[in-house]
C-alpha cells in the first residue's frame, strides 16, 4: 500500500542535485536582478554610511509625507471598494453565461487587462481634458456652461485607477464563483429560498475566497501604482509611488527615496501577511 502510494506521486522523481541544476538559472537571475537590487535599495535607506534612522524619521515625522501615505492608503481602499462594487456583478453574470455571451464578456475584461496601462491612462487624459469627450457631453446635455477641470483631481485618479485595476478584481471572483456547483443554489431554491436569500446564504459566502483574493491584489497594486496617478493626477493627489519617483529623479535624494520605498514595501508586506491569514481562514471554513 505504502509502495503504491509513493509510486503514484512524481514529487520525488528528480534527485535534489538535478532539481538544483534546473533551479540554478532562476536563483541566479533573482539574486542578481531582484534580491540584490532591492536589498541594496533598502540598505541605502538605513546606512549612510553608518546605520541611521535619519531618512526614515524624516518620512514619518513630516506631516507632508505622512499625508501622502495616508492619501495613498485612502485612495487604495476607495479603489478596492469601487472595483468590488463594479466587479462582483460582472463576475456573477460571467459565471452564469455560456457560449458567445460568455466569450464577449470575457473579452471585455481581458482586452483592457492586457492593454498597456499607459494606453489606458492616456485614454483618460483624452476623455477628461478641457475639450475632451466628457466635457463636450456635459455641455451638450446643458449640465455645465464652461468646461470643468476634470484632470488632476482625486476623483479622476480614483476613476482611472478603478478602471485600470477592475479586471484584477473580476477574475479571482469569477474563478471562485465558477467553482461553486450549480446544484447548491438549486438546492437552496428547492428548499424554498428566494433568489436573494439563496444568493446571500449560499453563493456570496462561497465566493468569499475570490472576493478576498480580488480585494487583496487590487489594494496591493493600488498602493504602489505609479503610471496612472503620475499621468492623470496632480500635486494635490500625490501618492506614494509618485513621491518616491520625485525624490529620486527630480531631487536626486536617493537615500530618502530608499527610505520611502522601504516604508511602501513594508506596508505592502503587512497587507499581504494580514490578508493571507484571512484568506486561508476563509478557505478552511
Amino acid at each position: 500500500m505504502a509502495a503504491r502510494m509513493t509510486s503514484t506521486s512524481t514529487a520525488g522523481i528528480y534527485s535534489p542535485a538535478t532539481a538544483l541544476v534546473l533551479l540554478l538559472p532562476l536563483i541566479a537571475l533573482f539574486c542578481g536582478a531582484f534580491l540584490y537590487p532591492v536589498g541594496r535599495l533598502l540598505a541605502m535607506a538605513v546606512f549612510d554610511p553608518d546605520f541611521t534612522v535619519r531618512h526614515l524619521a524624516k518620512a514619518v515625522e513630516s506631516p507632508l509625507y505622512v499625508n501622502v501615505f495616508l492619501r495613498t492608503a485612502r485612495i487604495a481602499a476607495a479603489v478596492t471598494l469601487a472595483a468590488f462594487a463594479l466587479g462582483y456583478p460582472v463576475a456573477l453574470l460571467m459565471s452564469r453565461l455560456s457560449g458567445r455571451a460568455a466569450l464577449f464578456v470575457t473579452a471585455c475584461v481581458l482586452v483592457p487587462l492586457w492593454t498597456s496601462v499607459l494606453v489606458r491612462s492616456y485614454a483618460w487624459i483624452v476623455l477628461l481634458q478641457t475639450n475632451g469627450l466628457v466635457n463636450g457631453l456635459l455641455r451638450w446635455l446643458g449640465l455645465t456652461e464652461g468646461p470643468l477641470k476634470l484632470l488632476y483631481t482625486e476623483a479622476t485618479v480614483l476613476v482611472a485607477m478603478t478602471h485600470v485595476l477592475l479586471p484584477y478584481m473580476i477574475l479571482p471572483i469569477y474563478g471562485a464563483l465558477r467553482a461553486i456547483p450549480a446544484d447548491y443554489e438549486r438546492a437552496a431554491r428547492n428548499l424554498g429560498a428566494g433568489a436573494v436569500t439563496s444568493f446571500i446564504t449560499v453563493t456570496l459566502p462561497l465566493s468569499l475566497p475570490g472576493i478576498f483574493a480580488g480585494c487583496l491584489i487590487v489594494f496591493i497594486l493600488s498602493l504602489g501604482f505609479y503610471i496612472t496617478p503620475a499621468l492623470v493626477g496632480g500635486p494635490e493627489t500625490l501618492m506614494a509611488a509618485t513621491l518616491i519617483s520625485q525624490q529620486a529623479t527630480e531631487l536626486l535624494d536617493w537615500p530618502f527615496a530608499s527610505a520611502l520605498s522601504l516604508l511602501l514595501l513594508a506596508g505592502t508586506l503587512v497587507v499581504v501577511v494580514v490578508f493571507r491569514r484571512f484568506l486561508s481562514l476563509s478557505k478552511g471554513l
Binding site: A11, A33, F104, V105, V111, L171, A248, T268
Partner: protein
C-alpha cells in the same frame, strides 16, 4: 452588449443585473478603445468627435526614427525576455514539481513576488544597481530586468499545466525503461506545451507593455516604446500618441487571441485564474 442582455434574459435571470453589468463593461471597454477613432482624425490636435479620416498620424509614427527605434528596441527586449523567462521559468517549475527540496514553497513565492512588489520600488532598485555597472539603457540590463518580470507568468501557467498532467503517464514511461530526460521530453513536455506557450505569450506582453521599470532603466541610447510614449504624452498633443496607442492595443489583442487559441488546447486543470493572474 445586446448579446449579454439577451443571454441573461434567456437564463431567466435578472435583467437589472445584466443592465448594470453592461454599463460596467462599457466603462471598461470605452476608455480602452477610444484611442482608435482619435488616431484617424484629420485635425492636428485631439478632438472629439474626430473629423475626417486620415492616416497621417500613422505615417508620422512610421517615418519618425525615434518612434521606430523605440518600437524595435521594445520588440527585441520582449522577444529576448520571453525566451529567457520561458526557459528559466519552465526549468524551475518542473524542478519544484518533481523533487522534494526544502524551501521549495519559499522559492515559488519568491518567483511570484515581482507581481505584487510595487514596480516603482523595483524600478529605483534596478536603476541604482545598474547605474554603476553601466547597464542603464543597455540590452543586457533590460533583458535581466524584463526576464525577471516575466518569470512569474511562466511559473504560474507551467505549474498549473504540471498539476493537470497525470503523473502516471510519466511513471509509465519510466517503468518502460525511458530515462528521466527522455520521459520528460517525450511525455511530459508535449502535454504541458500549451501551458509553456501561454506563459511565453504573457511574458512577451508583460515586457512589451511594462512602463514603470522601463522608464527608469532607459536612457537616450536605449529606450522602450513605453518610455518614449511617457516622454511624449505631456508635450506632444498631436494624435501620433493615439496612433501609437492603437498599434499597442493591436499588439495586445493579437497576442491575447494567440493565447486564447493556445488555451483551448490547454489541459483542463488550468483555470481562468491561473492564466490571467
Amino acid at each position: 452588449m445586446l448579446i449579454v442582455l439577451d443571454a441573461a434574459r434567456r437564463l431567466g435571470g435578472d435583467v437589472a443585473l445584466a443592465c448594470f453589468v453592461c454599463i460596467v463593461l462599457l466603462f471598461l471597454v470605452t476608455p480602452t478603445l477610444i484611442v482608435i477613432p482619435m488616431a484617424f482624425g484629420e485635425a492636428d490636435y485631439i478632438e472629439f468627435p474626430p473629423r475626417g479620416f486620415s492616416l497621417e498620424w500613422f505615417d508620422r509614427y512610421l517615418t519618425d526614427p525615434d518612434w521606430i527605434d523605440a518600437t524595435l528596441f521594445s520588440l527585441k527586449i520582449a522577444a529576448g525576455a520571453m525566451v529567457g523567462a520561458t526557459l528559466i521559468g519552465t526549468a524551475a517549475s518542473v524542478a519544484l514539481a518533481r523533487s522534494r527540496l526544502p524551501g521549495a514553497s519559499l522559492l515559488f513565492a519568491l518567483t511570484l513576488s515581482p507581481l505584487v512588489l510595487p514596480h516603482i520600488v523595483l524600478a529605483i532598485a534596478l536603476y541604482l544597481a545598474f547605474a554603476p555597472l553601466q547597464l542603464v539603457g543597455t540590452t543586457t540590463g533590460f533583458l535581466l530586468a524584463h526576464t525577471m518580470l516575466g518569470v512569474p507568468y511562466v511559473t504560474i501557467t507551467v505549474s498549473a499545466a504540471l498539476r493537470g498532467f497525470d503523473p502516471m503517464l510519466e511513471l509509465a514511461a519510466l517503468n518502460c525503461g525511458a530515462s528521466r530526460t527522455r520521459a520528460f521530453f517525450d511525455v511530459v513536455l508535449p502535454s504541458i506545451w500549451p501551458g509553456i506557450t501561454a506563459g511565453a505569450i504573457f511574458a512577451f506582453l508583460a515586457s512589451f507593455d511594462e512602463a514603470t521599470v522601463s522608464l527608469f532603466i532607459s536612457d537616450v541610447g536605449g529606450k522602450t516604446l513605453t518610455r518614449k510614449f511617457f516622454e511624449d504624452i505631456d508635450f506632444n498633443l498631436t494624435p501620433v500618441i493615439a496612433a501609437v496607442s492603437t498599434i499597442m492595443l493591436a499588439v495586445s489583442v493579437v497576442t491575447m487571441a494567440a493565447a486564447a487559441i493556445v488555451k483551448k488546447r490547454q489541459v483542463p486543470a488550468t483555470t481562468e485564474e491561473d492564466i490571467t493572474a
